[in-house]
């Protein structure tokens, strides 16, 4: 999962670790004083500060970047979090929240001068209410555990990131996580009823409500996807949905990626919204097949997996219509999973695409750009060109229904310069996504990884607006400093770098 460790020198050269010159000064922290106060005030709070204890926490799923935190705290109650935040606020100590640490953008990357607040121990499912169709859970509860707890009632929690066996619901809220069923069932933001927050000052605040809406601004929407920058998520109430009566999966093979892309539009034009609609290219198909033996056609240039779910009569009808559409779009073969076991196998291939690619390359770097679907052929061509230009293979996995691409750039960090090349390709792919009207991230978040690309997607005034939002909830900038929103200084530096390469002129540079 993710690229391997590389030594600090290489990392610093790409300029993603916290840099006070670019990212702003951080307050100095009196470590001994802080430990003392925490021990006295919160004697039951588990606290790690020895080097070897801190090691497991030095990175999240973006493991190329590692930083030893000052301290790790592992609260077990919300009250501990409130007191902890009060102390940190009073002492002006930066705090980085961490759920399960599966994030792929370095959102939970620690700070040398900050505390890592690990929420994984708050893992109680507080309530599953079948009549009300909701579940109330603590932030450390794993995504899949919610659906498991709801299963006896034939209910489930819809957003299903591929990391669902491991990732926490608090992390899902902080990233607005998606999954393979988002087009029909929505992202995390669409499946929340209520979120309890502990503010930077250690106060408890409820966003959303037990009703379907709440008075005032929609702060729950604002906090969803805010990457631990506005407050700590300490409890989440999610919607549960009735399990569809049946689900069927069609797999279509294509001899051309563009044709597969067009087929996606054709299905949607036919008025059908599949439960899941995923695409993989040849390299991804081969890797997945080799790993999972899902029965994928390894000769195909692309496959589409199309899941139709709902009431039996409707699904049978839709399968027929989708089959027609796929035939007309030039699919070379179409098969339908014959039972639930085969359906699970078809999905296992897709859901394990990342680790599968991890088996065919020493390292890989996962991108998360989104595009309007009609731009797919152009963007895939652009990726192929970049791949050739930089001499790095790229496997494409794609939430095709909602235009979210996951190009996986294959490289070997032990080869001199390959990581830098991989990052360069990644950066260019994201800029390509922005250029066709898309976004640098659909679900993995900005974190630290895409901090520079934010400068391509947003102009200075937009970034200043984001900083203004941050200032409304965390004026001292103590929550997850350096993530998500770049400073204008950083963008000026990034722009200057681009000018060096003679590529992207940054006319607003004169403002600095």
């Amino acid at each position: 999962m993710g690229p391997k460790t590389i030594d600090n020198k290489q990392v610093i050269s790409v300029n993603l670790l916290y840099d006070e010159k670019l990212d702003g000064p951080l307050p100095p922290v009196d470590k001994a004083g802080l430990i003392n106060e925490l021990r006295q005030t919160l004697p039951d709070l588990e606290l790690l500060h020895e080097r070897e204890d801190l090691q497991p926490y030095e990175c999240d799923g973006l493991s190329a970047y590692r930083v030893m935190p000052l301290l790790v705290v592992m609260p077990e109650t919300v009250e501990q979090i409130e007191t902890f935040m009060k102390i940190c606020h009073q002492r002006q100590v930066p705090v980085v929240a961490r759920g399960a640490g599966t994030g792929l953008s370095g959102g939970a990357l620690p700070l040398e001068g900050g505390v890592l607040l690990v929420l994984a121990r708050l893992k109680n499912i507080l309530e599953v209410n079948p009549e009300g169709r909701f579940a109330r859970v603590q932030p450390g509860v794993r995504n899949l555990a919610i659906s498991e707890a709801a299963a006896p009632y034939q209910l489930y929690y819809a957003p299903d990131p591929s990391s669902q066996i491991a990732c926490s619901i608090g992390g899902n809220v902080a990233e607005n996580a998606g999954g393979v069923h988002c087009l029909k069932y929505g992202l995390t933001v669409h499946n929340l009823l209520k979120v309890e927050i502990v503010t930077v000052e250690g106060e408890r605040m409820t966003l959303g409500s037990d009703a379907l809406d709440s008075p005032g601004f929609d702060l729950m929407a604002l906090f969803t996807g805010s990457e631990g920058m506005l407050g700590i998520v300490v409890e989440v109430t999610v919607k549960l949905l009735p399990r569809p009566q049946v689900a069927k999966v069609l797999m279509a093979s294509f001899d051309d990626v563009g044709k597969a892309g067009k087929a996606v539009g054709d299905i949607i034009s036919a008025g059908i919204i599949p439960g899941g609609l995923e695409m993989m290219d040849n390299l991804a198909i081969r890797a997945a097949e080799d790993f999972i033996h899902a029965g994928y056609p390894v000769e195909a240039e692309a496959i589409l997996l199309c899941e139709l779910d709902g009431v039996e009569a409707d699904v049978a009808d839709e399968c027929e219509r989708v089959r027609q559409v796929l035939e007309n779009s030039g699919a070379t073969a179409i098969s339908q999973a014959k039972d639930d076991a085969e359906r699970a196998l078809f999905w296992a291939g897709r859901k394990n695409a990342f680790p599968a690619v991890g088996r065919i390359s020493p390292d890989y770097y996962c991108m998360d750009g989104t595009i309007p679907r009609r731009e797919l052929p152009k963007v895939l061509q652009g990726i192929a060109d970049l791949s050739a230009e930089y001499g790095l293979r790229v496997a494409n996995v794609f939430h095709a229904g909602d235009g979210n691409m996951h190009p996986l750039i294959l490289f070997d960090a032990n080869q001199e310069g390959e990581l830098e090349r991989a990052e360069a390709v990644g950066g260019k792919i994201l800029e390509l996504c922005v250029a066709v009207g898309g976004s640098i991230t659909g679900e993995h978040g900005v974190g630290r990884e895409k901090i520079n690309q934010m400068c391509s997607q947003f102009n200075d005034d937009e970034l200043l607006t984001f900083h203004a939002v941050k200032a409304a909830f965390d004026p001292d900038g103590l929550l997850n400093p350096g993530k998500n929103i770049p400073t204008l200084n950083r963008c000026a530096e990034f722009g200057a770098m681009h000018i060096h390469n003679g590529e992207l002129p940054f006319p607003e540079l004169e403002r600095f």
Binding site: R133, D210, L219, P242, G442
Partner: protein, 364 residues
């Protein structure tokens, strides 16, 4: 200050149209002269919120669909566009806005729909206005025309300011353009009415809610549960057979959504109670109508705001007055902590307090 040399440096970004520049110029002038603005489209929702003392900023000159690609399931539209015009364009392609926003006699504009965030009978099953917002162009409290979100289904870059604009009653910025997710209209539908006591109706709804039955509207009035089923031909037919009842005219839902049913003619002020879905039938001081399977209850009542809001709050919800001038707090008051963060957010995004000051709460 002038709106002329605004950015357009990003690839593919549309420059401001003349009407958008005009709106921006009005904001810049207001900033300059420190004059609060009362932002409005057709003002069809004047009954909601507190009176705003400000110069009118009318968005209706900024109208039209900017971009609509049915296969992308995305439409981008200017805020002054009449909602009915947008709905007609979507209908031509067999698509719709699933949150079913009311059009208020065909007057409502798209900007007002977003800013007020009112959703129709389909809300509990298909989501609210905020759920289909993908991106906005906004004139900020600094007079800048900025873009947040976009025309793609998924986008988690930066904070979600687009969704924040929904239901913010124009207090955080002037929305000039919005991109929304659209969906195909259901293949088949059936409308029915069942005579049964309200307690039993709520029990049935809780039971059906746990099953894959394609209910997309459920309202109770005059001793009858009114239901809409929508989906594929097969699922609608089998659910209709199972539930039975007498057939209902589809126009009922429009009349409900547009507040044209007889119930709404009662001269007493109209209140909306938003409650947890399973809340039992309540003793309410007035005449009531259940919508959203019980999660939204309309009430015609002379009772005091404090009484109704306390009652809603006891049951885990909140109450909003739908008639101007009845109370100084038409929206349920916020906790002191939430109030503080609302003020701080407003202060950050609209430091001069230009946009619809006080529309939601005094001092906001």
């Amino acid at each position: 200050m002038s709106a002329q040399h605004e950015h357009a440096h990003r690839p593919g970004e549309r420059a401001a149209s003349a009407s958008e520049q005009q709106l921006q110029q009005q904001v810049l002038d207001a900033l300059h002269s420190n004059t609060p603005l009362a932002i409005q489209g057709a003002n069809s929702k004047a009954f909601l919120g507190r009176p705003v003392d400000g110069q009118v900023l009318d968005t209706r000159g900024h109208s039209g669909i900017v971009n609509y690609d049915p296969t992308e399931l995305v439409v981008t539209v200017r805020s002054g566009t009449p909602l009915v015009e947008l709905l007609a364009a979507l209908d031509d392609q067999g698509q719709t806005l699933t949150c079913e926003p009311p059009t208020f006699n065909g007057q409502a504009t798209v900007g007002g729909m977003i800013a007020a965030g009112l959703s129709g009978p389909r809300r509990p099953w298909s989501g609210a206005v905020r759920d289909l917002v993908l991106g906005t162009r906004v004139i900020t409290g600094h007079g800048k025309l900025l873009r947040f979100g976009g025309e793609v289904m998924k986008n988690v870059a930066g904070y979600d300011l687009s969704r924040l604009m929904a239901a913010s009653f124009g207090q955080l910025g002037v929305i000039t353009e919005v991109s929304m997710k659209v969906l195909p209209k259901p293949v088949s539908s059936h409308h029915l009415r069942l005579e049964l006591p309200v307690e039993r109706a709520l029990l049935k709804l809780a039971e059906w809610g746990q099953q894959p039955i394609p209910i997309t509207a459920a309202s109770y009035l005059d001793g009858h549960l009114h239901l809409r089923l929508e989906g594929g031909v097969g699922s609608v037919r089998s659910a209709a057979d199972r539930i039975g009842g007498e057939e209902l005219d589809a126009g009922f839902w429009t009349q409900l959504n547009e507040q044209q049913l007889d119930f709404f003619q009662d001269p007493r002020p109209l209140w909306r109670l938003s409650l947890p879905p399973l809340t039992a039938e309540l003793e309410l001081p007035g005449a009531s109508l259940l919508d959203w399977a019980g999660a939204q209850r309309w009430l015609k009542s002379d009772a005091a705001a404090e009484e109704l809001q306390a009652l809603a709050s006891r049951h885990g919800g909140h109450a909003t007055c739908y008639r101007a001038g009845v109370t100084d707090s038409p929206f349920q008051p916020l906790t002191p902590l939430l109030q503080r963060y609302h003020r701080q957010l407003k202060k950050q995004l609209d430091p001069q307090g230009l946009f619809n000051p006080g529309r939601m709460y005094p001092g906001l």
